[in-house]
């Protein structure tokens, strides 16, 4: 918390004071001064600005804005939905109520403990639901919210029964903060603190991992993100925010019972976050204030605001999934794009693929990740007898391949032969029924995909394995996930350690982007690039993971013939200049013959032939597999 507060105080004046006293000590001093001055704000300034009743409504609004930040973190960043968020708020509120109301502890103990309790409840709920893909978290939280409302919040052992709990605004001993305007100032400071933590989440590996998970879990894993763990982290953090928000809400209204945190509140939070704009913290806070404060000041709405909210929610998700915030942003982006296009046309440049691929970035291996090699003569990758079936369909039957270090091995075959399935089996993106996969001399068939990625397996995807909503720079940062070695606590506080690691990663990302010649796209969302450009960024990102093996799935698909020809040269650079090994799926046979050292032909899920590329493609059964019986 000290770290967060210090960041809040990084004004020019604060920096001058810091230069006088030097570093950390000045932070402490500034916080002390701010704390000393705070009672003046709560007791003198705020009461002059706000009426008692207005301040109460605004405090509730601020608490719900904090709750909206909480759900936004989960739904907007990590793409997981909670339909029982009100129960997490309730857990925090009851915890703080029991501490402050029944045990006489001050509010500044109660509210953070509320956050801890919210986080703990979320963590426990997340364990059964988040290791699965899909809407399981929504179901578990829905059922938990129902159980909390009907039962848990009414249990006398937990909350003191149906009567509810009082939440006094105890400052210390028997001193209470009675005035609503003063409490509003407290609530705003807490909201600000959560806001700053949220900012830190977004500028560190946490936010990038969350966003990658929302956009494509498989891609996140391929960059070494432990998806289950990060989903659990997102929900736990969201639970902490919710617990704090609930405690704030409770202290604002002074009393809570099981009906305070009902299903309607959970629904309202979903409406606020989706309509405001998933992932846009400012929009979400604004929407929360709008939906909670507005109806209480305008008389005669009689619930029509909720009807309007529900209609807006359906309209938003079916027509503008990004919410109101992104409607504005999309308009800005389109305008900027039009202008860039006009400028480029004026200068006579072709803004699409220039037909030539830039050279691949050298990207020296970071000191933390030296080159890895299998012991002795063992091949880099060896898959033995791999079988995969989906329901009744046998996609891969007893397939074996060997990839020696330092060359390009090709994998060809007709559509549906099982090439991508073999990739998925090797990289851990599909469950194998039998077979072994040995990488760098170790058996990896039982390891999850992210663990194989960490050991130096990088793979591309047919539909581009990038987080497409993120910018080119952010994708390069995401690719260096394993190099972001700071702890989650460092990330939340954005400590010096996290800051310095992030600076180094950013430098490496810029270097890579510059080597690709893509400086002008540094902050462009990947989805706005052409397919060919996306492919180049993808290969660049794979290199940024510092892999030993690059598995490329049809890199030439969607490229112009000129670009594809150029691709051959770039691919050869990988083993020849950069010392990497490549496993390549390709339909473009001239390209395959040009670059591959060894070739495997896959047909109907089985390895049909292997050997020197030029010889293999002339074998009778290979020709037959490709062209049918008549040709052979």
């Amino acid at each position: 918390m000290a770290e967060i507060a210090a960041r809040a105080l990084q004004t020019p004046l604060a920096q001058r004071v810091r230069s006088l006293f030097g570093g950390r000590r000045a932070d402490v001093l500034l916080i002390a001064v701010a704390l000393a001055a705070f009672p003046i704000v709560t007791h003198r300034a705020m009461p002059r600005l706000f009426h008692q009743s207005d301040a109460l409504v605004l405090s509730q609004g601020v608490a719900l804005a904090a709750a909206a930040l909480s759900l936004n973190l989960l739904l907007g960043y990590a793409g997981q939905i909670s339909l029982g968020h009100a129960a997490l708020l309730g857990a925090g509120a009851f915890a703080s109520g029991i501490l402050t109301g029944q045990h006489g502890l001050p509010m500044w103990v109660g509210v953070p403990v509320g956050g801890v309790v919210g986080a703990a409840v979320a963590f426990v709920l997340g364990i059964p639901s988040l290791r699965l893909r899909g809407l399981y978290l929504a179901m578990v939280t829905l059922a938990f919210g129902y159980a909390a409302e009907q039962s848990l919040f009414r249990l006398s052992v937990l909350t003191g029964g149906s009567a509810g709990v009082a939440l006094p605004r105890r400052l210390h001993g028997n001193t209470l903060l009675i005035g609503n305007p003063g409490f509003l100032a407290v609530a705003m400071v807490v909201l600000l603190a959560l806001w700053l933590v949220d900012v830190n989440v977004c500028r560190t590996k946490l936010g990038r991992a969350f966003q990658a998970i929302r956009q494509d879990e498989g891609v996140a894993q391929a960059f070494g993100v432990d998806v289950t763990r990060y989903k659990l982290a997102a929900f736990t953090l969201s639970g902490a925010f919710a617990g704090i928000a609930g405690a704030l809400y409770g202290h604002a209204v002074g009393f809570v019972n099981s009906e305070t945190f009902d299903f309607q509140l959970s629904l309202l939070l979903v409406i606020v976050v989706v309509v405001g704009g998933l992932g846009h913290r400012g929009a979400v806070v604004t929407a929360a204030l709008f939906f909670t404060v507005f109806p209480r000041f305008i008389k005669g709405l009689h619930g029509y605001d909720l009807i309007l909210g529900a209609l807006l929610l359906m309209f938003t998700v079916s027509r503008h999934p990004g919410g109101l915030a992104s409607m504005a942003r999309e308009r800005r982006e389109r305008k900027a794009e039009r202008e860039a296009r006009r400028e480029a046309e004026a200068e006579g440049e072709d803004i699409e693929d220039a037909g030539k691929l830039p050279s691949l970035p050298e990207l020296p291996r970071p000191p933390a990740m030296p080159a890895r090699a299998a012991a002795g003569d063992a091949p880099l990758l060896e898959a033995v007898g791999v079988s995969v079936h989906f329901g009744g369909l046998q996609a891969l039957r007893n397939a074996s391949i060997t990839v020696p270090a330092g060359g390009i091995v090709g994998l060809v075959g007709p559509n549906g032969a099982g090439k991508t399935t073999l990739f998925n089996a090797v990289s851990g993106h599909v469950r194998t029924q039998s077979g072994r996969v040995r990488f760098l001399g170790e058996e990896v068939q039982d390891l999850p995909a992210f663990e194989r990625a960490r050991r130096g397996m990088a793979r591309s995807f047919q539909l581009i394995g990038l987080a497409k909503e993120l910018s080119v720079r952010e994708n390069f940062l995401l690719a260096q996930h394993q190099l972001a070695t700071y702890s989650p606590a460092d990330a939340l506080g954005f400590t010096r350690r996290a800051a310095s690691v992030e600076r180094a990663l950013d430098e490496r990302a810029r270097e890579a982007v510059a080597a690709l010649g893509f400086e002008q796209f540094l902050d462009t969302p990947v989805r706005n690039l052409s397919h060919g450009q996306q492919r180049i960024v993808e290969i660049g990102c794979l290199l940024a993971t510092s892999p030993e093996l690059l598995m490329l799935d049809e890199p030439s698909a969607g490229m112009s013939p000129a670009a594809a020809e150029n691709l051959a040269e770039r691919l050869r650079e990988l083993p020849d200049r950069l010392g990497r090994t490549v496993l390549l799926i390709e339909h473009n046979l001239p390209l395959v013959l040009d670059v591959c050292d060894h070739l495997y032909v896959l047909h109907l899920g089985e390895i049909l032939a292997e050997g020197e590329p030029a010889k293999v493609v002339q074998q009778e059964e290979v020709v037959r597999a490709y062209l049918g019986d008549a040709a052979a």
């Binding site: 793409g79 939905i81 339909l83 059964p128 639901s129 988040l130 290791r131 699965l132 893909r133 899909g134 809407l135 399981y136 929504a138 179901m139 578990v140 829905l142 059922a143 938990f144 129902y146 159980a147 409302e149 009907q150 039962s151 848990l152 009414r154 249990l155 006398s156 149906s162 879990e217 998806v227 289950t228 989903k231 299903f263 309607q264 629904l267 309202l268 979903v270 409406i271 989706v274 009689h302 619930g303 029509y304 909720l306 009807i307 909210g309 529900a310 209609l311 929610l313 359906m314 998700v317 079916s318 027509r319 999934p321 329901g391 469950r431």
Partner: protein
């Protein structure tokens, strides 16, 4: 004890209907419909309007309820689900949350918070069999659950269109190739599940006693747990799940003194969902589920 089993079996059958509605939509369009039960609640208001306000017999009210539910299901499918096309399924699920919120808000604005009461479908005393008392409404529930369940199963398994519905989730292309239009499948599952929700609501209403916004949340939670027991994709599994949840609720309620622990059905439902996810996420009868 016998009484407990009868109550559990009958409410279990009703949960099964709710669960089948959820599973149909999930199989047909891969969407979890969070508005499922509220369609039934709104339909109950229609039945109340027709019977209590205008003096029509129960059966007319029930018909009105089912017609309204069907209209809501089809409209939502046509106006929201279909235009969303291939949008992520999560997004469509959020749209159903919008529909749920809309119906809740509409109910409280139009009908107000005061609860409404629907008279039971069949008046009169129940019959006593082997020392167990069964009310006319319970007989009706039992009969209707069996008729609807068997009828739906026959339709889905015996007709080409029904088989298309069952296969739609696994292989949309194959379904299109055998001449079943996917838009029809989509309309069918949304419409049918809405009607199933209305039937389940009509049957559970005498037990709940009142009609109010969100009053049937428990029916939805139980239906969801039941569907999950069947792995979200098995129709028979959903029915079995309904019985499991219904019996568990009434048995636990029978043995735990309810004054010390309020809301036992809610706890049973929550525990069932967590237990299924921990032990067999693919359902008791289903297969594997993709893990992260």
């Amino acid at each position: 004890m016998g009484q407990t089993l009868v109550v559990g079996t009958i409410s279990g059958g009703i949960y099964g209907l709710m669960a089948v509605g959820l599973v149909l939509v999930f199989k047909g369009t891969r969407v979890l419909n969070f508005a499922q039960v509220e369609v039934g609640t709104l339909a109950l208001y229609a039945a109340w309007e027709v019977t209590t306000q205008h003096g029509a017999p129960w059966i007319v009210g029930a018909a009105a309820a089912m017609v309204l539910a069907l209209a809501i299901g089809l409209l939502f499918e046509r106006l929201i689900v279909r235009p969303m096309g291939d949008a992520p399924r999560m997004t469509v699920a959020v749209a159903t949350i919008g529909l749920l919120s809309l119906m809740l808000a509409f109910e409280s604005v139009y009908f107000g918070p005061s609860p409404r009461i629907l008279r039971p479908p069949i008046a009169g005393l129940g019959t006593k069999i082997l020392g167990v008392y069964v009310s006319p409404t319970q007989w009706l529930s039992l009969g209707l659950v069996i008729v609807v369940g068997v009828g739906l199963a026959a339709f889905l398994r015996r007709t080409d269109f029904g088989l298309g519905v069952l296969a739609a989730a696994d292989d949309p292309t194959a379904v299109r190739l055998v001449g079943v239009r996917l838009s029809r499948v989509s309309a069918f599952v949304w419409g049918t599940s809405a009607v199933l929700s209305a039937i389940a609501a009509l049957l559970i209403e005498p037990t709940i006693g009142v009609i109010a916004p969100g009053a049937l949340a428990g029916l939805f939670a139980s239906g969801l747990a039941a569907a999950l027991v069947g792995g979200l994709t098995s129709l028979s599994g959903a029915f079995v799940g309904g019985l499991v949840v219904g019996l568990a609720e009434s048995l636990v309620g029978h043995y735990v003194v309810s004054s010390s622990v309020p809301g036992i059905p809610a706890l049973v439902v929550f525990a069932t969902i967590v237990a299924v996810l921990l032990a067999r996420p693919g359902g008791l009868l289903g297969g594997r589920v993709a893990t992260a």
